[in-house]
């Protein structure tokens, strides 16, 4: 039985070799945080990390992934939602419908890994995911905040339900 190394665990699956990684993650491994948006690597809702690099899993046949390659999905971005980006996303109330946000976060996390202090141009180039609700400006603010550069100016969101660091 073929295996995949997902979020640090070796998992079995029974998908045909041409099955896109997306559908193995969602339907065989129960990891539904990674979303189907287009199936043709256009929208980025399906973005996961393969050995740390962002890939669009909807267009990647599972047979092209080696059992030793490290796959990270949104469920494995941090053990408890404590990744700097997740905290910044919450602080800035980034998601609207939220459907594209797993992909957004994974794309942003890969960017920060390569460029811990990204410029606006870096963000423009790296975040090519589609969001129909229109969260782009908050995505940008939250990436800058997670990079430790600045707290988002002007949003002043009141978080009564938790203490904000």
């Amino acid at each position: 039985m073929p295996t995949l190394l997902v979020n640090g665990k070796t998992l079995n699956h029974s998908a045909e070799p041409d099955t896109p990684l997306l559908w193995v993650l969602r339907e065989q491994l129960g990891l539904t945080g990674t979303k189907y948006g287009c199936g043709v690597a256009q929208c980025g809702s399906c973005t996961v990390h393969l050995d740390g690099a962002p890939v669009r899993s909807c267009a990647l046949p599972v047979s092209a992934v080696q059992p030793t390659q490290k796959i990270t999905t949104i469920e494995g971005l941090s053990p408890d939602g404590s990744h700097a980006l997740q905290k910044a996303w919450i602080d800035n109330d980034v998601p609207q419908c939220g459907y594209c946000q797993s992909g957004m976060l994974m794309a942003a996390a890969a960017l920060l890994r390569d460029k811990p202090q990204p410029t606006d141009a870096d963000i423009d180039a790296a975040i090519t995911n589609i969001c129909r609700c229109g969260t782009y400006n908050r995505v940008r603010s939250a990436i800058h905040q997670a990079a430790g550069e600045r707290r988002s100016a002007g949003l002043d969101i009141v978080h009564l339900r938790r203490s904000v660091s």
Partner: protein, 764 residues
């Protein structure tokens, strides 16, 4: 049933007054347990999804919630012994923040501890069983907050009064000696305190108060604040369950293809080879125009569908080309027999005597909603067995739970009482998931052919792109008659094209008049009013309906009407040598609220002073204003166009007067998001027809605006009180005209048909 469907659909049209729930002002105590399998919003959805519910037994899916949602103080408020407050939300959350906003308003009146608030969706079946106790479920027309604020606030206030009364009864003191803060009731004389959770059971047994006073907005503590949303955390860790993610034990998956030509039928298909493919369980006819492959996983179902040989009866529409549709609509621009929507004076007569006339023709294309989550529904049909009646249940992201229930009942051939719909958070709605529920009917049709087995139908992106309910196609010919001084004495605005209501709710079209066509151009009514006065005015509509099905598309007809009016006024301003703001001021003297937002946007942007260059490019501005969904909105866009014709939208200042502002930071999010929707439409949005079918099949041929193209957005929020306007849609409409007017200022090119991708802005 037909009456029910008609009623629910009328709600969808957003035209009917948003009548409150039957029992909103009369909180009768209902001691029955709330047994609806409510798919709770927020964290409770996890309990549902991970509970491995036994499908088909509502009690099983509700086991987690039925015990947890007691005691019910009234239909909107449950207070548990541990002080957890559950606020019920009938409208749907699709990203617009209505869940949080409505909870804020209930909690404001309830005066509970916001940190202990959870939300829950009541089911439409339960609502019907309780005489529509939760009122209208329809979540469209930017109605979520404004359409239910009155009765949900009364629900919160009545619950507070009952809880305080229960404490007063316990202490045997007059209720007037008691006060409440953050869910703790205090007795002034003795300092005794009781928490809401301690008196909830006693409060639930009390008679609801007859007279409920609501707070004035100036006394709000929770409403009106920039509170964080209630549903953010799950959207950052992959735990939020959407319809596409739903898993039920024993569930199968389906992928579907409907006839690519609208109106065509399914003739036959070769099931046998596909049945032999891995995981495939069934190949089924769905209605008269579609075929579905059902398999253990969706990918296997979809692979089977891609391999399926299908024979279609394409029907007469297969001959229709885009040019035919354009010609059909264009013919309406000068045809006799148009229906008047707004008349002042004698426009045609005044036009004949004009010193000068200015004329222009605009057009606006079909567009798909393109929600990020494609259409989907999971259905389970259980036939009658012994003394158990047949039952059909559906889990789906919907903008109108009651509409989905009506569609379920109709497709299942069962009374609504034997059906139920469980709402799930939407991965985008934008109007696609409200009015028709075509995907629900399909899912039920599949489930009915596989009794006892839950089947999840998920549309591929290609299916979603080619079987939408498209933004209506229209054109508009505008003609202004100027007097000798260059003042606009007469305006004729002829709209030709598609009627949404004629396709979806023909009963709402009276004497050939579709009132929704005139959005933003109405004389009065408070919903979508023109902001200008002309001595002589005629706005009329020649209905021309091509075969492509239209739908309510975020912003609806305000989108193109604002382009037509605002760009044409800009043309008049330039033709008469007037400043576009000054021309508008002259026409807006009788429309102070329209003018106020326009002045605010212009002033904030710095209208009248040169904009600073960006990267060596000169920056130009354009203005637009409109009124829609009850709110006054205006925008000033700043753009540059390089010599090579590259357009950059740098900044949009947007002013909104929604009357009352429940959560300003979420209104800002809606304004920013509306510009992504509106600018995507202006830059790229277009579906075209070839051989009767939609040409664009995915995001590679139907491109979307990306982050790198997003302008800076500055929102000026100026709630003036006294009315309730929506905020999810109106600012979409000012995005395109403000940008188009700025492009004219930058290039001298007047773009009259969209999308912009067809036009070169290169300097000649």
């Amino acid at each position: 049933m037909n009456k029910l469907i008609a009623h629910l659909q009328q709600d969808d049209a957003g035209q009917a007054s948003d009548a409150g729930p039957a029992s909103a002002s009369n909180f009768t105590l209902d001691r029955r347990s709330f047994i609806g399998a409510a798919v709770a919003a927020g964290s409770l959805v996890l309990g549902f999804a991970s509970q491995a519910a036994t499908p088909g037994t509502s009690a099983a899916t509700s086991a987690a919630t039925s015990a947890a949602t007691q005691p019910e103080i009234n239909v909107w408020v449950v207070v548990q012994p541990d002080d957890q407050v559950i606020i019920r939300i009938a409208r749907s959350e699709m990203g617009q923040g209505t869940l949080t906003g409505l909870a804020q308003m209930v909690a404001e009146e309830l005066q509970c501890d916001w940190t202990r608030v959870q939300t829950e969706y009541p089911t439409p079946g339960q609502s019907l069983a309780r005489k529509r106790a939760w009122g209208n479920f329809s979540t469209g027309g930017s109605q979520g907050i404004r359409g239910s604020q009155d009765y949900v606030r009364k629900g919160g206030a009545a619950a507070r009064m009952m809880l305080v009364q229960a404490a007063a009864n316990t202490w045997q003191v007059p209720v007037g000696e008691c006060s409440v803060k953050a869910g703790v009731i205090s007795h002034a004389g003795t300092g005794r305190k009781l928490r809401y959770g301690q008196v909830a059971a006693a409060a639930a047994a009390l008679t609801a108060p007859a007279d409920v006073q609501l707070k004035d907005a100036k006394d709000w503590h929770l409403a009106g604040r920039r509170l964080a949303r209630l549903d953010t955390v799950e959207k950052t860790n992959g735990k939020q369950i959407y319809g596409a993610d739903l898993q039920l034990p024993g569930m199968l998956n389906a992928s579907i293809r409907a006839c690519p030509v609208f109106g065509g039928k399914l003739k036959s298909f070769e099931a046998a080879p596909v049945m032999a493919m891995p995981g495939v369980k069934q190949v089924l006819r769905v209605g008269d125009n579609a075929v579905a492959v059902v398999a253990d996983t969706w990918w296997r179902a979809h692979k089977g569908l891609q391999a399926l040989k299908i024979d279609w009866d394409l029907g007469p529409n297969a001959k229709v080309q885009q040019a035919d549709i354009q010609a059909m609509v264009a013919e309406g621009l000068s045809a006799a027999g148009a229906v008047a929507g707004h008349t002042e004076g004698e426009a045609m007569q005044a036009m004949a005597g004009a010193a000068r006339t200015i004329e222009a023709t605009y057009s606006y294309p079909f567009q798909n909603h393109a929600t990020m989550e494609t259409m989907n529904a999971t259905a389970l049909f259980q036939p009658a067995a012994g003394d158990k009646a047949a039952r059909c249940e559906v889990w789906t992201p919907t903008q109108n739970g009651e509409g989905a229930l009506a569609a379920t009942a109709e497709a299942a051939g069962l009374p609504p009482a034997q059906c139920e719909v469980y709402k799930i958070h939407l991965g985008g709605g934008f109007g696609r998931r409200g009015a028709t529920h075509d995907w629900v009917r399909q899912a039920v049709s599949i489930a009915k052919q596989m009794p006892g087995v839950p089947v999840k139908l998920l549309w591929s992106r290609e299916e979603d792109m080619t079987h939408g309910m498209y933004h209506p196609i229209t054109q508009c010919k505008l003609k202004a008659g100027l007097d000798a001084q260059g003042k606009v004495n007469a305006l004729h605005m002829r709209i030709a094209g598609q009627s949404i209501l004629a396709a979806l709710f023909p009963q709402a079209v009276r004497e050939g008049r579709d009132p929704v066509v005139f959005q933003g151009l109405n004389k009065g009514g408070g919903e979508a009013m023109i902001g200008y006065s002309f001595p002589h005015l005629l706005i009329d509509h020649a209905m021309r309906n091509p075969h492509v099905p239209p739908g309510f598309w975020r912003g609806v007809n305000l989108n193109q009407n604002a382009i037509y009016m605002e760009c044409f006024l800009d043309e008049i301003a330039h033709a008469t040598g007037k400043d576009p703001l000054q021309l508008r001021r002259e026409l807006m003297q009788a429309h102070p609220k329209h003018l106020a937002v326009l002045e605010a946007a212009a002033a904030r942007a710095g209208w009248g002073q040169a904009a600073p260059d960006v990267n060596g490019q000169k920056v130009f501005r354009g203005l637009a204003q409109t009124h829609g969904f009850g709110s006054y909105v205006a925008a000033c866009a700043e753009v540059s166009v390089s010599a090579e014709g590259e357009l950059k939208v740098h900044r949009i200042v947007a002013a909104t007067d929604p009357g009352h502002a429940v959560n300003p930071q979420q209104i800002e999010a809606q304004v920013e998001g509306s510009f992504v929707y509106g600018l995507t439409a202006a830059l790229y949005g277009e579906c075209t027809v070839k051989d009767g079918r939609i040409v664009q099949t995915n995001f590679d041929t139907y491109p979307m605006m990306k982050l790198r193209e997003m302008p800076k957005v500055e929102t000026v929020l100026m709630p003036s009180g006294g009315f309730w306007g929506g905020v999810g849609e109106p600012t979409i409409a000012v995005a395109a005209p403000a940008v188009l007017n700025a492009i004219f200022a930058a290039t001298g090119k007047r773009i009259r048909d969209l999308p912009l991708k067809h036009h070169s802005l290169k300097r000649v």
